[in-house]
Assembly symmetry: C2
């Protein structure tokens, strides 16, 4: 099961906002057995959003977008997704009722900017936003399922949790563990990692992350991960590999 994450917003590209949403969504999908294969960040621009969807639609089992769902002119994710898929925007009755009630309580008008949040692509369905105004949107089936989430982190997280039953197929499982090795240069571990990766190709993935200088007082994290058909198999593959790596590191006289 393959996934792509699309984040929308000039503020991310400028570095005004660190892309914690992509990390949160990436963690969520990985823990549900997906392999997140690509991340794309585009501006608040219709052509760019459409490009990102066109580029990923059909390549991944799921595409999750975040950002661009608000009431201002530059919130154009829903329109961009609709254009890419050739779907019209239709009024979602339930969202409209929620918005009507909400703004009535505030004695505020249901202006076109507020009404915009009730329009979703034909055939999709709205996922209620328990903490804000813009609903999430789920477009299932076809070549890729698409989950459209808002950019405000607590709204994004709340809707993602609600979409768990739609996303989680419970047929692939992920497990990872990390061992920290002090006094080992990443380049010294490289041949060992290469050999293990070759011997267990497709079963486990080993990646080293240098934490300090390679040559002065080195320290690395060795991250081992696996996808498998059961949680137990994934964990077993990771544990076996870690044992093998630690034995090799000891043989090198380091730890």
């Amino acid at each position: 099961m393959k996934a792509c994450i699309i984040t929308i917003g000039n503020e991310i590209l400028k570095g005004r906002t660190v892309n914690t949403n992509a990390a949160h969504i990436g963690k969520f999908l990985t823990s549900r057995g997906y392999e997140v294969e690509r991340g794309i960040t585009v501006k608040d621009n219709l052509d760019e959003i459409k490009w990102a969807i066109d580029e990923s639609f059909g390549k991944y089992d799921i595409i999750v977008t975040s950002g661009g769902l608000g009431p201002t002119f530059d919130d154009m994710t829903v329109e961009g997704v609709s254009r890419a898929l050739g779907l019209e925007l239709v009024e979602d009755r339930e969202t409209l009722e929620i918005l009507s009630k909400r703004y009535k309580e505030l004695s505020a008008e249901l202006t076109p900017e507020r009404l915009k949040l009730a329009y979703i692509p034909a055939g999709s369905h709205a996922i209620r936003n328990p903490v804000g105004a813009a609903p999430g949107i789920w477009i299932s089936g076809g070549k890729s399922s698409i989950l459209v989430l808002p950019g405000v982190p607590r709204e994004m997280e709340a809707i993602l949790d609600q979409a768990d039953s739609l996303i989680n197929k419970n047929d692939r499982f992920y497990y990872e563990a990390t061992e920290r090795l002090a006094g080992v240069m990443e380049s010294a571990m490289a041949p060992i990692v290469n050999r293990i990766m070759e011997e267990h190709a497709g079963e486990v993935y080993v990646k080293t992350h240098p934490l300090k200088s390679e040559t002065r007082n080195p320290e690395i994290d060795v991250e081992v991960s696996a996808y498998a058909d059961s949680a137990e198999m994934a964990e077993q593959a990771v544990r076996d590999t870690i044992r093998e790596i630690l034995a090799e590191a000891r043989r090198m006289g380091k730890k």
Copy 2:
């Protein structure tokens, strides 16, 4: 001047690592007058890295990559960039000397994994890494300049600073300022922002960021930014627009 940032690494896609590098590079480029138009994150995979370069080469004035420069098998950025550009890898004499000296001092062999760091695309030049082993790489001219940086943040930052004179053209300037408005719903500001954006199309950009719930105790950041031919012009455009927005907000009876 348009820019694209490519970050490479499974750990970013999985959400194990938050992509602070993209934010740092985005801020750096924006403050030097670039508009960062797109961000791409790909796996440690040759085809994916090549795809990201192919997709962006020729569309942007500068492409900055981060990650995948280490000694392990899955560090393949240099090879991916070389393949995309059709350039052979050649030994960089200066880097080779630095590496030779470094590992000699540690009585460590110059293994193939360590030697790998001295190979760069033909016609490019290495940028010395003051805090680590892998140099940065600058590929200038052609349809896009490419700056290749390591993924370890302090190494990436140190090399980016050294590349400033290559990147900074000093002919476009960026300025931004943010005003926080309490008690204003984002949807209430939307028509005002739309009007101002239309009247100043291409000169300034106004974006609202909701900080709290839209309807309960609302609070928003109004971010105004501009690119111009001088720093003074950019600042003036931003200040004038902020004055106009604050006047409108006051007229609405809010602040």
